[in-house]
Every structure is written in C-alpha cells, then in structure tokens.
C-alpha cells in the first residue's frame, strides 16, 4: 500500500474523531479547520514511522494532542478547552446526577477548564474522548499511576469548585 493510499484510508476512518478533537481547542470554525489541517500535515509527516507497535487509535491521539501543544505558538499558554452541552462524558466533572447541566454550571465549568494548565487540558480532552487510563498513559508517555493521580486531582478540584453551581 503506498503512502497516499494509507493516508487517505487513515483520514477517512478517523476524520470524525480528529474533527471532534479540534472542537475541544477552539469554537471558531476557521481555527478548527486550521488545526485539522495541521494534524493532517503531521499525520502525513509521521506516516512513515508508523510501525503498528501502538494501536492506530493511540497513534492518532498522540499526533492530535502533540499538535494541540503548539510549542512555537505565542498563544499556546492561552489554549482553551471548549465544551458544550453536547460534549460526551462532561458529567465526570461535577457532582450532580443530571446529564444535562444548567447553563450557569456549564459556563462555570468552561471558566474552570480554561484555568487548567496546558497538560491538564490535554489530559481532560482525552478523558472526554473516553480514553482509558492505560491509553492516556500511552498517548502522553507517563505511568498509569501518574495519569490516575493527575486526573483524580483535576476532577476533585473541579467538583469542589463547581459544588455550589449545580445545586
């Protein structure tokens, strides 16, 4: 299979997933499109190195997360993590059982998420993608216990801060 064919197939199979990741980092459609293209460029550049040691799922997420950490960009520290009512697994971050948070809670959650560090935002985006602790550890390159500790700390902090907004 040649590179172009492999690339086409990969993009076709993962287009929705990549677009969803892009939506976490911007609510501006043009910025999302730019990031989508940036991820595709990096997939293209890294395609020759894919040896199948990690799953394609992990491989795609690695490229997406690494692209989102735009080291050379002046704005990387201000990178946002955008959520909406439609975002999956959002109820992981507040205490109430209701799957549909009220607007005040959602707004406050958005504010709190944007206060997180760049690495914490990347971790949360993977939680929202329903990635397991093991998969997140593979994507980020740290131990499973480290991932567990970090995610637990973020969730606990968010739940504490959002306690009054959900009731």
């Amino acid at each position: 299979m040649n590179k172009e064919h492999k690339f086409n197939q990969l993009v076709k199979e993962n287009e929705e997933r990549i677009k969803r990741i892009c939506k976490y980092y911007s609510n501006n459609s043009s910025a999302q499109e730019d990031m989508f293209q940036e991820i595709l460029i990096n997939i293209w550049k890294s395609l020759d190195t894919f040896e199948g040691r990690s799953s394609i799922n992990t491989w795609i997420y690695r490229i997406a997360v690494n692209t989102s950490l735009t080291f050379t960009s002046k704005t990387y520290k201000r990178m946002d993590l955008i959520i909406s009512k439609e975002t999956n697994f959002i109820n992981e971050f507040y205490n109430i059982e209701d799957d549909h948070p009220n607007d005040v809670l959602l707004d406050q959650l958005q504010i709190e998420l944007n206060q997180l560090s760049v690495i914490d935002k990347a971790l949360i985006s993977l939680v929202l993608e329903n990635q397991s602790i093991k998969e997140i550890a593979n994507i980020i390159g740290i131990t499973e216990s480290n991932v567990k500790t970090k995610i637990h700390r973020i969730k606990r902090n968010l739940k504490d801060k959002l306690y009054n907004y959900g009731n």
């Binding site: 172009e4 690339f7 086409n8 993009v11 076709k12 293209q37 595709l40 460029i41 990096n42 997939i43 293209w44 550049k45 890294s46 190195t49 894919f50 491989w59 690695r62 490229i63 997360v65 690494n66 692209t67 950490l69 080291f71 050379t72 990387y76 560090s117 760049v118 690495i119 990347a122 593979n138 994507i139 980020i140 390159g141 740290i142 480290n146 500790t149 970090k150």
Partner: protein
C-alpha cells in the same frame, strides 16, 4: 478541502522546502570547492593568503554540513511519539547546536560584510558586529523560548 488536493498541497510544500535546502547545499559546497582551488592556487603566489582562504573554505563547508543536518532533521520530525518523548526530542533539537549554528552563520555574514566594506572607517567595522549580535540574539531568544516551554511542560508532566 478535498483530501487529494490537500495531499498534493503538502507534497508541494515539502518539495519546495527541501529543494531550497538542496539549493543552499549545492551553493555552499560549490563555493567551498572554489575556495579550495583558490587556496591551492594563491598559496604558490602568496603563502600568507592560506589563512584567509582556508577560513572561507571552512565556513562554506560548515554551512553545507549544517544544511544537510537541517535537511535530515526535517525528514525525521515525528509527531507520533508520546507527548513526553516529543518534549524530550524538542529539548534536544533546540539545544546548543543551534547556538553554534547561529554563531557560525553570523561570523560568516560579519566576515563577508567586513570584506565588502573594508574601507577602514568606524561604521563599516561596527555595523557588521551589531548585525551579527542582533542576529545571534534573535536566534537564541526564539529557540530558548521554545526550549523553555518544552522544559516547563516536561516538568509539569513529571510532577505528581
């Protein structure tokens, strides 16, 4: 954007950048070769020219080798590493080698401007020095910033 259009666009971009680097390599090695010939030729006429001609040759050879390194590095960028490994790679990539590169390049520019404006007046001596210092500072600040960002992220990743 249609995916095939996108592929041809990035292939074109890759080709353009790599062609530019190839062009720089050819020019550098061509000038290095010319200066080797010049060194040999003028040595028999005036042996004191060996130093100045050897410096010219070394500068062009160094630039040629550096451009080969950049060419190879460009093809080795791998975004599919884990985030931690990518950060370590970035810290290595933007290390002191780039500082050496900027110093050699600046020395090359300064040296050539010296030769062109070798009129002995103050401005012609000071301006290439100022130019090279500014060039070095811009390169250092740019790479240092990227390296520091990567270091900071790595530190945060390693923390519990």
């Amino acid at each position: 954007m249609e995916i095939n259009t996108f592929i041809s666009k990035i292939k074109k971009e890759d080709r353009r950048f790599l062609n530019q680097l190839r062009f720089v390599q050819i020019i550098c090695f061509m000038f290095a070769f010319i200066h080797i010939i010049k060194t040999i030729r003028y040595f028999s006429i005036d042996p004191s020219t060996i130093y100045i001609n050897s410096i010219d040759t070394l500068i062009f050879l160094s630039l040629g080798i550096i451009s080969i390194k950049i060419y190879n590095n460009y093809n080795k960028i791998n975004y599919s590493l884990s985030t931690k490994d990518l950060l370590i790679d970035i810290i290595k990539r933007y290390n002191v080698d780039y500082l050496k590169l900027s110093i050699i390049f600046s020395a090359f520019i300064a040296y050539n401007i010296f030769k062109i404006y070798d009129s002995g007046n103050f401005i012609s001596i000071i301006s290439p020095i100022v130019f090279s210092i500014l060039f070095i500072l811009i390169i250092i600040s740019k790479y240092k910033k990227i390296r520091n960002n990567a270091k900071q992220l790595l530190k945060e990743l390693n923390a519990d």
